[in-house]
Symmetry: C2
Subunit: 373 residues, 2 copies
């Protein structure tokens, strides 16, 4: 059995895609050919969902349909709510994975693949409700019913806090959701695609993607950035702190990316929304981030180590009263759009994903009776 | 971005393995180097689990430990039981996937990867309890508590029916579980491996595998074999029935395999256990299967089309009062051993699974305002 082994499938092409395009060299990200900067500026998260699922900017009537669907399907069945209450002390990602899996039981025909897009819209609609309800139970409070008057992002903050967010807060979360909605093939998206390649239902496929995103090699390191900024202790300490880390050859969280050889194009948008939020109490914090960024860029920019989104996203979430332990769930809330789009793309031209492994164990071993072992 | 596209990852080697070895040319299957015939004859399912997880036949003390663990961890938390009751009308695989995912919430430290093997044993222990409890609720009956006096297979039949099975029945199910415990890399195993490659917890990894197994391209076609035998209507009709199918160029369920070029080596063991079961009322049924087999082998054997396990497994389950809609769940109950073994093998030498896709969409599309679309 010849051939090379492709550990981690690095560099292996598994298919063609018209969804996310990451231009690492120039620091650009595109969704279906539209640059992320245009999407952040002009579209809502709901419109981004429509774009990703259909690969075309929606006309007004289609956008209305998608918005209406996402709005009407927010409520979760009482049984799912009970599960979230029972899992109040579980990690948010374990609860989210379980609840999305359970939704299949509340669909009359979960395996109807002709209605995959519609079912996926239902999942996208419910993910924020699930995350917010679980957090409320974790905090010993009752969940808050979704408000159909609010958009996708604003409604999440409303369900989380029990009161409507300010306009700039809603816009900031909407931006974060758009920025993380899609990023080409990655481990969680791939887990979803592998699962649906058996023609498994979309609840199972999204459940797989959530399961994979939960892993620390994938879900990001925003929590460690928050710890880092606390550890630095102020902008004036940044230069010495960075120098100390570099001397000790320690990794600095929030910098470096596998694909981007320049600053991650999403960073400037996170920073802009952070700056627009009311932030008296965060002035020192933000100044510390910028001081760390300048010190690291000066020292490592020449080596291709530039800021990634982790440097900013945790701060944005913190300013929106979203606790750091929720960062991976926030990622899921955004990325479920990209997962859904890749799942639909796989179904368009499906082949079951079935790689091989090389057998390297012994062969024809002789059975040894238990008494002689 | 050069390179070939590997649709379905066909022929792509993703790693090395010392677990299942399928010799398609000679019709042989090995677990960790031991031929399946020895395993079916000498080991229990519990011993097979120990072999797969550790790649060595267990000594008596280790086998005792594994058996004890599988016995002691059968009970499921009351909250999981409630979910299964709430999902009474759902498909068995949707319920199983949800319940296994939920188990993470009942583990104090689900992400402790150093204890992955122990956690996986806990999952293997609970899968039969979950499937049986769900079926009981589906039938409007209360679940039956596991009986610690019974082995893994016998206890499942006890929980399903509410009374202990006969010895030959328990042996037949034990054989089926062993025969389906492992089969190298396949789509469900791969989904589990992709998920754990992010260092996601093992509950998530097994959940992904269950999700992928649910798909009709993977989970088997035993149900259609049952329908076929009913359609044939008796052994005397087999030859004409097969000839009719061949003339119409229709596929005959229960025959042909992607890898095996001869009869699937597991078939003879299924057949032997079917023959050993009390089967007065199944005499005609079994004779029909054999008549179909002879007719198909005569017509298609020269073309490499031979019986696969689907031809027999559905009949074995039916004789054990396990309804056909449970066939994929029975597959999961067996294969969770192989999934667990591959998950542990991945963790031994992990690299995150991150293939690429070729972007084939448009680039630099100009944003069109909503009003102008």
């Amino acid at each position: 059995m010849g051939g090379d082994i492709h550990k981690g499938l690095e560099g292996v092409l598994v298919g063609e895609s018209g969804l996310g395009k990451v231009d690492g060299e120039n620091g650009a990200l595109y969704y279906c050919g539209y640059i992320i900067d245009d999407i952040v500026e002009h579209a809502s998260y709901e419109e981004t969902v429509a774009l990703l699922l259909d690969k075309e900017l929606p006309e007004q009537t289609e956008l209305d349909r998608v918005e209406e669907t996402l709005r009407e399907r927010r409520s979760i069945p009482a049984e799912v709510d009970t599960v979230l209450e029972g899992m109040a002390d579980a990690q948010p990602m374990d609860a989210l994975r379980t609840a999305v899996s359970m939704l299949a039981g509340h669909d009359d025909d979960p395996d109807d693949m002709d209605r995959a897009r519609d079912k996926l819209l239902g999942i996208i609609a419910k993910v924020p409700t699930i995350i917010a309800a679980h957090e409320r139970y974790n905090q010993g409070e009752e969940p808050v019913e979704p408000d159909p008057e609010l958009g996708h992002a604003a409604n999440f903050l409303y369900m989380l806090r029990g009161k409507a967010p300010g306009e700039r807060e809603a816009e900031a979360l909407d931006a974060a959701l758009k920025l993380y909605a899609e990023h080409g093939m990655n481990a969680s998206t791939f887990a979803g695609v592998v699962t649906v390649s058996t023609l498994a239902n979309v609840y199972g496929a999204v459940t797989s993607a959530i399961a994979a995103l939960q892993g620390p090699l994938h879900g990001g390191a925003t929590e460690t950035v928050i710890e880092m900024i606390e550890d630095v202790g102020g902008p004036d300490n940044a230069e010495d702190w960075v120098a100390g880390k570099l001397e000790a050859h320690e990794k600095i969280p929030g910098f470096g990316h596998r694909v981007y050889q320049v600053t991650d194009p999403r960073c400037q948008h996170f920073k802009a929304h952070i700056d627009r939020l009311p932030h008296e109490e965060y002035d020192e914090w933000i100044a510390t981030i910028e001081a760390v960024r300048e010190a690291v860029e000066e020292a490592l920019g020449g080596k291709g180590i530039w800021p990634n989104t982790d440097l900013y996203s945790g701060t944005l979430y913190t300013m929106l009263d979203i606790p750091p332990r929720f960062d991976t769930a926030m990622f899921a809330m955004a990325r479920v759009a990209g997962w859904s789009a890749h799942i639909l793309e796989q179904l368009e031209d499906n082949r079951i994903m079935r790689p091989r492994v090389r057998y390297v164990g012994e062969l024809d071993r002789e059975w040894v009776p238990l008494t002689e072992r």
